[in-house]
């Protein structure tokens, strides 16, 4: 049997690897994605003061520290049985919206977008941010960098630090927003809304007006019928910061809707001996292996999943784009993995609109930012939508108010089984018995996983992005018969 190792990381970064086994006739026998890294947060959080969790757990991921900081802070609210003040909730959501703007912008323009903007067949040397700049123009590229910079400024001004903010406390936040900063945030938010609208226009012009791309989006190689998960508000609209987790089945019907405290009735994690990551699944459906369909507990938690799981967007411009996507792609739910890029831009617009709303809220610069807990901490669960999936933090305190038990189900981890399946599907579509393994295998596999924006810092520690790929085909005697690299 031949063995192909796609080794973006072990050899290079040390944190992730894909192995494809071939049958003797050259067809795909199986595919394994391995996560070779573990830092053990769930163990070493034990013994730490509960209030330090927002700052400790955000060191899981320097790409999305805001998500861990926020899930941990909400778990603290629950542990202390304390409601944050109305202003504090809004300040938290404001920072979180600015974070979404930076994160989704980075993904579309620098990481995921190049595949589309430049086209999947473009020379590799052009499929990067520099190629995007050449195609969309320096003006837009300048706006991309400026959007990142301005929204990072908001994170620093509101959260205390640009990377690893410090403002989260049970019952509120540590710092209020000055009127001067509020005005500046409002101006940035207006630019964000315009930028998000422009980004959707770019996507429409370059991708949707090109039949080749649309055919690829709806092709079977990039389609999986799974359950979808996302946080929704009380009107079942997408919400990143708060609400209930809603799950729809592959036909789009509501399958479950649960509060943070009920997550254990709904989610369990499967373990394999060949990876340091776990594979979450829907407990009430069960783990049936790496397969899709209604009988398999595999679910996805991505921008597209959130849109599939919700009834719409809570802001008007994003709602119009939501309607447009579903009417273009033939109704809900959309199973085409590549449409995740489109969904991400709709979320970008929602985040910008929500940031603007909050920046104009009369309460936002108010002084009432903290409720002081009076209860001792007990047990709590906090859930937010991280950009890469539903993020759950669950803590139990001891009598000193330190962590006794800690359980974390992290953004990208939700999608590990689905990523595995998407990679396998791409491999099966491209590796045919009796035919040479095409050079484009690398690109196709990359396009299969990139929509998930896999933040391997969370699951594996690699940054999302241009993962250097190397495929080595080894025959059963151990000789290298082919090497592909990018």
């Amino acid at each position: 049997m031949k063995k192909i190792t796609i080794d973006p990381i072990t050899r290079l970064e040390g944190h992730g690897k894909i192995t494809i086994f071939l049958n003797d006739d050259g067809s795909v026998a199986n595919v394994y994605t391995q996560i070779p890294e573990l830092r053990g947060f769930e163990k070493f959080c034990e013994g730490r003061p509960v209030e330090d969790m927002p700052q400790i757990t955000q060191r899981i991921c320097g790409v999305c520290p805001e998500a861990h900081h926020m899930a941990a802070t909400k778990a603290l609210d629950d542990m202390f049985h304390i409601e944050p003040t109305s202003t504090a909730k809004k300040i938290r959501e404001l920072l979180y919206s600015a974070f979404y703007v930076t994160d989704h912008t980075t993904h579309f323009y620098i990481l995921g977008g190049p595949d589309f903007v430049m086209g999947p067949d473009a020379p590799v040397a052009q499929r990067n941010i520099l190629g995007v700049i050449a195609k969309v123009g320096l003006d837009l590229a300048g706006q991309v960098l400026n959007t990142r910079k301005e929204n990072h400024w908001i994170i620093q001004a509101v959260g205390g630090r640009q990377i690893h903010p410090v403002f989260g406390l049970p019952g509120g936040v540590s710092k209020r927003i000055s009127e001067e900063d509020r005005k500046q945030i409002e101006e940035i938010a207006k630019r964000d809304v315009a930028f998000a609208q422009l980004s959707l226009k770019v996507f429409g012009d370059i991708v949707l007006k090109n039949k080749g791309y649309v055919d690829m989006i709806v092709s079977d190689a990039f389609t999986s019928q799974t359950y979808y998960m996302g946080l929704v508000d009380d009107k079942n609209k997408v919400n990143f910061y708060d609400g209930k987790v809603r799950v729809v089945d592959p036909s789009g019907k509501e399958f479950a809707k649960y509060s943070p405290r009920e997550y254990l009735d709904n989610i369990a994690e499967h373990v394999e001996p060949w990876s340091y990551t776990k594979f979450p699944f829907l407990k009430k459906v069960g783990w049936k292996g790496f397969v899709d369909g209604k009988d398999s507990g595999v679910y996805r938690a991505t921008p597209l999943s959130r849109l599939n799981a919700a009834d719409g967007m809570a802001t008007p411009l994003a709602q119009a784009e939501y309607d447009k996507m579903y009417s273009t792609l033939g109704g809900k739910p959309v199973h085409h993995t590549l449409a995740t890029h489109w969904a991400r831009l709709i979320e970008l617009l929602y985040a910008a609109e929500r940031l603007l709303e909050l920046s104009q809220d009369k309460e936002i610069s108010g002084p009432n930012i903290r409720n002081i807990p009076t209860n001792k901490p007990t047990e709590g669960v906090g859930i937010v939508e991280a950009p890469r999936g539903t993020l759950t933090h669950h803590y139990v305190a001891d009598e000193k108010g330190c962590i006794k038990k800690c359980n974390l189900i992290v953004g990208t981890t939700n999608n590990q089984a689905a990523i595995f399946m998407s990679v396998k599907k791409a491999a099966q579509a491209l590796i045919q018995p009796g035919k040479d393994i095409p050079e484009s295998l690398l690109n196709q596999i990359e396009m299969a996983w990139r929509p998930y924006d896999p933040c391997m810092s969370c699951s594996t520690h690699t940054l999302p992005g241009q993962m250097p790929l190397e495929i080595t085909v080894v025959d059963s005697s151990g000789c290298i018969v082919k090497r592909l690299s990018r």
Binding site: M1, A29, K43, E51, I163, S275, K278, H394
Partner: protein, 320 residues
């Protein structure tokens, strides 16, 4: 003048140091003018094999972030040391172990058992734990070996310079890059950071004589806006932490947690802070002192939050 050949690499870290490198913003163009980045897994496609094939010492400088947690981290640290003239430990993980180093309170087995068996959502009746080599029906799969103890970069290879912070603030990163680009490098072993004895020197809060009757946890009180946080009973690490960050945390009304490591010349940040605390406790009665100290609920984890792996304690001794 030939361009500097620079490599950037991460080991066991969160990616925040990569983002911090990008946070220098427009200055990244200046960096690109003066240096060729020959190896940076997040951004460019140089292969591991390409690094292997480089002549020894052909990289002018390597900025290495992340702690040494497993066999691959160690392999890459040794390889990049061999290929680089200058090795820089960039950020708290490489410098002192940082948050991943808190795993040294436990051992590998405890960490793995918790992650895969004991955590409440794990569905693992068979008590399966990942193995470094596994036979699957189609062949064999391998995983790197997790070490028992997290180590710093300097505990693994010879290091020339250190850049503190979790992550380094933008000003610190640029200071280090400027030193590199200008060739005006300080003596070997130096921490590259804006000179400030301690975070307190950067902090605008007004300081008086410190006398503590009780420690408070940050959620228990709303601190006065302009007064030293430690004087208000919050465990602010500023006195025992290297300055140069600009003190962003106390300015957001939260205590410094010590991420820039010990102040210059101090070997052990945790014992330094404990000594400082002992000297400001406002009591003479042993029972009262004990009661005040009980207000520090996790002394080891708090005082060695970032520096456990590099401290004199290094790790907990765990009975077999």
């Amino acid at each position: 003048m030939p361009k500097l050949q620079v490599a950037l690499y991460w080991a066991a870290s969160c990616g925040g140091c990569e983002i911090a490198t990008l946070a220098i913003g427009d200055k990244i163009l200046k960096l690109a003018e003066a240096a060729d980045i020959v190896f940076w897994p997040v951004a460019i496609d140089t292969k591991y094999a390409d690094v292997e094939n480089m002549a020894d010492k052909s990289i002018d400088a390597c900025l290495f972030n992340g702690a040494i947690r497993n066999s691959e981290n160690e392999h890459m640290a040794k390889l990049l040391r061999r290929k680089s003239k200058i090795m820089i430990a960039y950020g708290s993980c490489a410098t002192e172990g940082c948050i991943p180093g808190l795993a040294n309170f436990y051992n590998r087995k405890m960490m793995v058992d918790t992650a895969f068996i004991d955590t409440i959502s794990s569905d693992n009746q068979g008590k399966i734990i990942p193995q470094t080599s596994v036979k699957v029906p189609e062949g064999e799969l391998e995983l790197p070996v997790l070490w028992e103890t997290v180590r710093t970069l300097a505990q693994t290879v010879d290091v020339d310079f250190f850049v503190p912070g979790c992550p380094p603030e933008e000003r610190t990163t640029w200071l280090a890059l400027e030193a590199l680009l200008s060739g005006k490098l300080p003596p070997k072993g130096t921490f590259i950071v804006h000179p400030a004895n301690a975070v307190c020197n950067d902090c605008p809060r007004v300081k008086h004589e410190k006398k503590i009757k009780a420690f408070h946890r940050p959620y228990e009180i709303i601190p006065e806006p302009d007064k030293c946080l430690l004087e208000q009973g919050l465990l602010c690490f500023g006195v025992a932490t290297r300055g140069g960050c600009g003190a962003p945390c106390p300015q957001a009304n939260m205590p410094c947690t010590g991420c820039y490591g010990p102040v210059e010349g101090v070997r052990d940040q945790g014992s330094h802070f404990l000594t400082a605390l002992a000297s400001i406790i406002d009591a003479n009665d042993p029972d009262e002192i004990e009661k005040i100290l009980d207000g520090i609920v996790d002394p080891a984890g708090t005082c060695y939050r970032y520096s456990l792996a590099d401290s004199m304690i290094n790790r907990a001794r765990i009975a077999p």
